[in-house]
């Protein structure tokens, strides 16, 4: 099998396994996995920028929140039905990421991280400032009755699971395909050696710009899906913590691997789920994992797997 066929088979196999799990898992874990897949979509989006292009953003929560508020406000205030509202969410995230990309890409390295952090903080404060519409810290709930697509009730656990799977599969297969195309190869070139890629005649700036927009829009899709499937929109999802999470997931699962983001989210989700039963200070786990990853496993779980056993892992 060629490399591309192998990775396609891996991705389709993963989707098939996730589909089967829908009918095998007990209700509690089915619900968890639905949430995990939506968050993994966010992580897949983050991975496009951090894992493949090598740009570390500390402000992706603003894109997630743009999708979330785009959909939520369109349904709540605009009275739109879910599908057009989802489109509004995607467009908001795409527009925001284009603006941020145009400004932030003028900087590099540490300055890029701080600029994205600052923009995201401003977005978070904006959500709080317009509390009359956004509900500020407390957020708002999207009515159960309106969360239906073509007669399917998205609040039903099985339907919700399959909808989450659909969103995640699209994101996974899309990025998988993108990384096989020459566009993806140029992104990796930018990560490995920006000057050389430039010298070879590629338009580095245009590729980075598109990477930010694709990454931001995928994150926004995850935010919109989260609001639609779980019926809640709140400023917490725009806070710094939600910019740190995708970084943590991707680092843990393996930056620059297609399935790493999902693996990272599964691990972190159950680690936090388990420890929050023991103590209210569950973010301690996140801190310890971040430090340990920095020290001992810079390539993450899937990165180690690729290094040791499966060199073709996409």
């Amino acid at each position: 099998m060629s490399l591309n066929a192998r990775s396609l088979a891996l991705h389709l196999g993963l989707v098939a396994v996730l589909f089967a799990l829908c009918f095998l898992l007990p209700t509690y874990h089915q619900g968890n996995l639905a949430r995990i897949m939506v968050l993994a979509t966010y992580a897949v989006g983050y991975n496009v920028l951090f894992g493949y292009t090598g740009l570390l953003s500390l402000g992706h929560a603003m894109f997630f929140a743009a999708g979330m508020y785009g959909l939520g406000l369109a349904m709540q205030l605009g009275g739109l039905s879910p599908v057009p509202a989802f489109a509004v969410g995607l467009l908001s995230a795409a527009a925001l990421s284009a603006i941020v990309a145009l400004l932030a890409l003028r900087t590099i390295g540490v300055a890029f991280m701080i600029v994205t952090l600052m923009f995201s903080q401003a977005a978070f404060l904006t959500a709080l400032y317009f509390g009359a519409w956004t509900g500020g810290d407390e957020g708002f709930v999207i009515a159960q009755a309106s969360r239906q697509i073509a007669g399917y009730d998205l609040t039903n656990p099985t339907v919700r699971y399959l909808a989450a799977l659909a969103v995640f599969s699209v994101a996974l297969l899309m990025t998988g395909r993108m990384m096989q195309a020459s566009f993806g190869h140029v992104l990796i070139g930018v990560r490995e050696n920006e000057e050389r890629t430039q010298m070879l005649g590629y338009d580095v700036y245009r590729h980075k710009l598109l990477a930010v927009i694709i990454s931001g829009t995928l994150s926004g899709a995850a935010g919109a899906a989260y609001a639609l499937l779980f019926g809640y929109v709140g400023a917490t999802f725009a806070s710094v913590q939600y910019s740190i999470f995708p970084l943590l997931w991707v680092l843990l699962g393996g930056a620059g691997t297609t399935i790493g983001p999902l693996i990272g989210v599964i691990f972190m989700f159950y680690l936090i789920d388990y420890s929050s039963g023991l103590t209210s200070a569950y973010m301690l786990i996140a801190g310890v994992v971040l430090v340990l990853l920095t020290l001992y496993a810079r390539t993450g779980l899937m990165g180690e797997v690729r290094k040791r056993w499966v060199p073709w892992l996409p």
Partner: protein, 308 residues
């Protein structure tokens, strides 16, 4: 209150904030300048300072001043020691790689914050000021009988707040003297200018890094001890000084100490003054966006030179 006295009050309150901010931001700027490390956990060292101050003041019975003086010594030491440990166990191990240190210090941020939550608890607690006299301030106005002096209601400051301004200024001057007049300052400046050459001249760069990282954390903790009788010690209190310090260091020019102090005064004062007239959230939005744009269009800061 009339507009004039109101503005004076805002300026005084702003000066207290600016004094504390200058100390905190100086720590961040020192670490960035000498080590080229962005310490995202800086705000948590501030928090550790405040929390330790509460523990010390709580343990020592007697006059509040005794506990306060003890806290002034103990809290920066504790924060500094933790920072030296972080430097040895984390930063040194990743060879001060910029991205790895940011991710690592984010981890340290959560570890410190959540440890405080587990040991100190979720509720904010006050520390008693060593002394606190209300000082009414006079206001002059040109009235019917010529220049008249009177004491408008509400225009006052406490002696403790004046002490905070004075203490912060003293520390800033002392820091400047150490940096510009002593051998230690010379060593730190040499390391900042050129790490390799410093190493070649026999400067123990690794030890300088540890000390600088500890000193930076100590400055943040000292600022926290000064402010804790006015605010309260709280496990989430680190976010605000971190963000403000970032703003100050960016405006002042990354790694420039003089710029940092000037910017801290500017930001602290305008923060106090603006938040009297605008909603605090709106003023923060404007400030954050402005700073992001400064970093985009003038990465060397408003006062920094191109080379820095």
């Amino acid at each position: 209150m009339e507009f004039g006295p109101h503005l004076l009050l805002a300026v005084l309150e702003g000066a207290v904030g600016a004094a504390v901010l200058a100390l905190t931001a100086l720590g961040l700027s020192l670490v960035f300048g000498v080590m080229r490390v962005v310490n995202v956990a800086h705000g948590e060292f501030f928090m550790v300072g405040a929390v330790v101050a509460w523990f010390v003041a709580d343990t020592i019975a007697g006059h509040p001043a005794v506990g306060f003086v003890a806290a002034l010594i103990v809290a920066p030491l504790v924060a500094g020691l933790i920072a030296v440990l972080v430097d040895k166990l984390v930063l040194k191990q990743v060879a001060y790689d910029p991205e790895a240190t940011i991710v690592g210090t984010i981890g340290v941020l959560y570890i410190l914050q959540q440890t405080a939550l587990m040991t100190y608890g979720p509720e904010p607690r006050p520390v008693e000021a060593p002394f606190s006299h209300r000082i009414a301030l006079p206001w002059f106005e040109w009235g019917e009988n010529g220049l008249a002096m009177f004491y408008p209601w509400g225009l006052s400051i406490t002696s403790y707040k004046l002490f905070v301004i004075f203490a912060a200024a003293t520390v800033l001057v002392a820091f400047w003297l150490v940096m510009s007049r002593t051998r230690y300052g010379l060593i730190m400046r040499a390391t900042q200018l050129d790490r390799e050459t410093a190493l070649a001249f026999g400067i123990p760069v690794q030890r300088v890094y540890s000390i600088v990282f500890g000193l930076g954390a100590g400055l943040a903790a000292l600022a926290a001890v000064l402010i804790v009788p006015i605010q309260q010690a709280y496990y989430l209190m680190g976010a605000e000084p971190l963000l403000l310090s970032f703003i100050v260091v960016i405006i002042g020019g990354l790694g420039s100490v003089r710029g940092t102090v000037v910017a801290a005064l500017m930001i602290g004062m305008s923060d106090g003054v603006i938040s009297v007239f605008l909603s605090p959230t709106l003023s923060k939005i404007i400030a954050t966006l402005l700073v992001a744009l400064v970093l985009v269009f003038r990465p060397q800061g408003l006062f920094g030179t191109k080379a820095a």
